[in-house]
């Protein structure tokens, strides 16, 4: 992680999000909204190549709307000494469990300013879930496997999606209204606020959204092979 991408995780750009932090997130939609819409699009880099593992989410709700609680639990798995998925977007207030599907112990922790937690050495699925109550990026690691790294992106609304290998995303069940939508990536050199697009969801189908992110390549953190192996 370089300094350019650090901006989205732990400091000022996140500050604004924290206004909505705290408590269960309840999204109360206007009664008049008769039909929810889907917002689809792609995230690409300046050369037009798809950017996967980006997160696109709504960060500004229409005036008067209130985020509603989402009670479900998200999962960040540990398989073959890696966090799966590597990037896990969750709505603020979500609990995340860290089941260990390896045959060895892991020691999951985060020292991020957004959320500091630690699940000392454990095996299996016994560990208690962790609730994320502040908006921001939480870098998750394993104390005994330095190369293991994952990101839990805590977003302020339930309208978020991660991009697939083609860079495509779909925001589902978005009620009509005007939204501010942003794109985030672990290695993005563009600040999150700089990606904001304002979209109005109405009766007509919204045109596809395109976000362009300048993304630094993710560094391999696997241990190097050495002699005597």
């Amino acid at each position: 992680m370089n300094s350019a991408s650090a901006g989205c995780g732990r400091s000022s750009p996140i500050g604004r999000w924290s206004l909505v932090a705290g408590g269960w997130l309840l999204v109360v939609l206007a009664a008049r909204s008769s039909g929810a819409a889907e917002l689809a699009g792609r995230v690409v880099d300046p050369k037009g190549a798809p950017v996967s593992e980006a997160v696109v989410f709504v960060d500004q709700l229409p005036a008067g709307a209130v985020a509603a609680a989402g009670g479900r639990t998200a999962v960040m798995d540990q398989v073959n000494k890696e966090f799966v998925p590597h990037v896990l977007p969750v709505a603020v207030g979500t609990e995340v469990s860290f089941p260990n599907h390896d045959q060895i112990h892991h020691h999951v922790y985060s020292l991020s300013r957004t959320k500091t937690f630690e699940i000392p050495l454990y095996k299996g699925e016994a560990a208690a879930p962790v609730r994320f109550e502040r908006v921001g990026a939480v870098k998750v690691g394993c104390n005994i496997h330095d190369w293991m790294a994952g990101v839990i992106l805590v977003v302020p609304t339930p309208y978020f999606a991660a991009t697939d290998a083609d860079g495509a995303f779909t925001l589902r069940d978005v009620p009509p209204g005007t939204y501010g939508i942003v794109a985030w990536h672990e290695g993005a050199k563009t600040p999150v606020d700089g990606t904001r697009q304002t979209v109005t969801v109405g009766d007509a189908a919204a045109p596809p959204l395109t976000f362009t992110l300048d993304v630094a390549e993710r560094k391999a953190r696997q241990p190097a092979r050495r002699s005597y192996e």
């Binding site: 992680m1 370089n2 300094s3 020292l111 870098k139 394993c142 330095d146 190369w147 560094k219």
Partner: protein, 584 residues
Amino acid sequence: MSVWWARRRLRTRIFLPFSALILAILLATLWVIGTAVNRWVEISLKRQFDATGNVFRALMAERAERLIGETSLLAGDFALKRAIATYDPDTLSSVAVNHRERIGVELLWITDEKGRFLAGAGGQGGRRGPLTDLVPLQQAIGTDAPAVAVTEVDGGLVQLVAVPVFGPDPIGYLLAGAAIDDVTARQLQADTGPAVSFLTAPRLFASSWPASEREQLFPGGAVEAPLRAHLARAGGTPEPERSTFLLELRGDRLLSILIPVEAQLPEPLFALVQESYDRALGPLAALRRWVGVIGAAALLGALLVGGMIANGIAAPVQVLVGAMRRVLTGDFRQRLSLRREDEIGFLARSFNEMVAGLQEREHIKETFGRFVSRDVAAAVLSGQMPLDGERREVTILFQDVRDFTTLAERTDPRILVRVVNRLFTEMVAAVEAQGGIIRVFTGDGVMALFGAPVAHPDHPARAVRAGLDMLARLPALNAHVQQEQVPALRIGVGVATGEVIVGRMGPDQRSEYNVVGDAANLASRIEGLNKELGTSILIAAATAACLGSEFALGRHAVLHVKGKDRPVEVVEVVGVTPHARRVG
């Protein structure tokens, strides 16, 4: 050669070039040794400097590796990571002190993920805010990997490493620094030999020199002009061409070299490596002293030997010269007793033989006068003839010129001398032809002796033959004499035989071979009778009795002569009998 020292003495001529040669060889040897050792010392010092540079680089690399390794271990400590995540300055300060002790470095600082100072132990000097002016931290933030550099911290030189703390992305950085100070320099000197100082153009950072020397070389920690010039030059020179130079320290010359040290400073950093040139040349001075002592001893020895050799040649030559000088003054008794087989021995033997020859000639001359025939001289020199005095029978001949007194009075003296000399030449020739010797020259005649010192049994016949020869030579002689306007000479000859005493007589220096006896007087008297009897050759009867038939004898007469009691019988010799066969 005519310079003063070589003018007289052979010894000096041999001795001086010899000494000069040895001295020249000695000086040349000293020079060659000096040049070689100087060069060797310079090369070996430079090699030593290179070693110091290499050791320093290795030391820095090893220290960097150790710093990075140990700081990385610290950074991996989960407790440290959690402590950083507290962002509590007091806690982190204590952690910094604690972790600094763990790895034994001079400073340990902790920053956040952006390089902002959180806490530190050692040398922080009340720092706040970002430390990104520190190059290794800058690099570590840029690469997420450890970085190291030599840099200046609070006025001191520090090897500084920056290591990211991953949680799992960088949550902060550890900065660990090991000072490059006097201790480092002294350690380097202890390990490699030369003195080491770390400096940039404006200032000195650290040095292994003791305080007093340091103050001399770097007054007040400043780098002075001459060294600054070298620094400026070294900065632009590629490594292999970098050369040594000399700096003065209290009259001691320091061979110095500047080795660049990679550092993050406004001015290039150098290690100044120095060694006392004069101390390194110490062994040369000792070597020079030894060569000098040995050379001087060799010179002395060579001079002694040379002197002895020169003496061996010159001394006998001196003896020879001395002896020669005395011979020149007439001392023929000089002999050299040099028993040598070389050229000098040959010279000495030749000298002895030569002087012996001269002495013999002188001896004969003194004994017999100038007119001795070769045969007689040879006989005398061969020792056949005793000269010591003996009684023996001899025949004595007297010759005289008639009326010589009258002739002498009437003739020019110079002409007279010429005539007389010519006469004597003929008379001597007649005597010597018969093996006689001239005993004495009278004014106008000769007295000749036959039968001594060389013994001839027929001495009466030889004397008579000589007398006849004298007469025979007269006509030719007179032919010349008359050309001088002088009347023809007439001569008379008297011969007597008898026992006489012969031998060397007279004082040492003037002794002569002399004859004493009646026969001598008798011959003289008989010669005087010629005038009376009108004869040319008269012989005593005793002589005539000894002659064979060779000679034609004339008249006999018995006469009284002066000084004789009894009359003497004399016989005239007329000539040689026609049938007689001449002998001798």
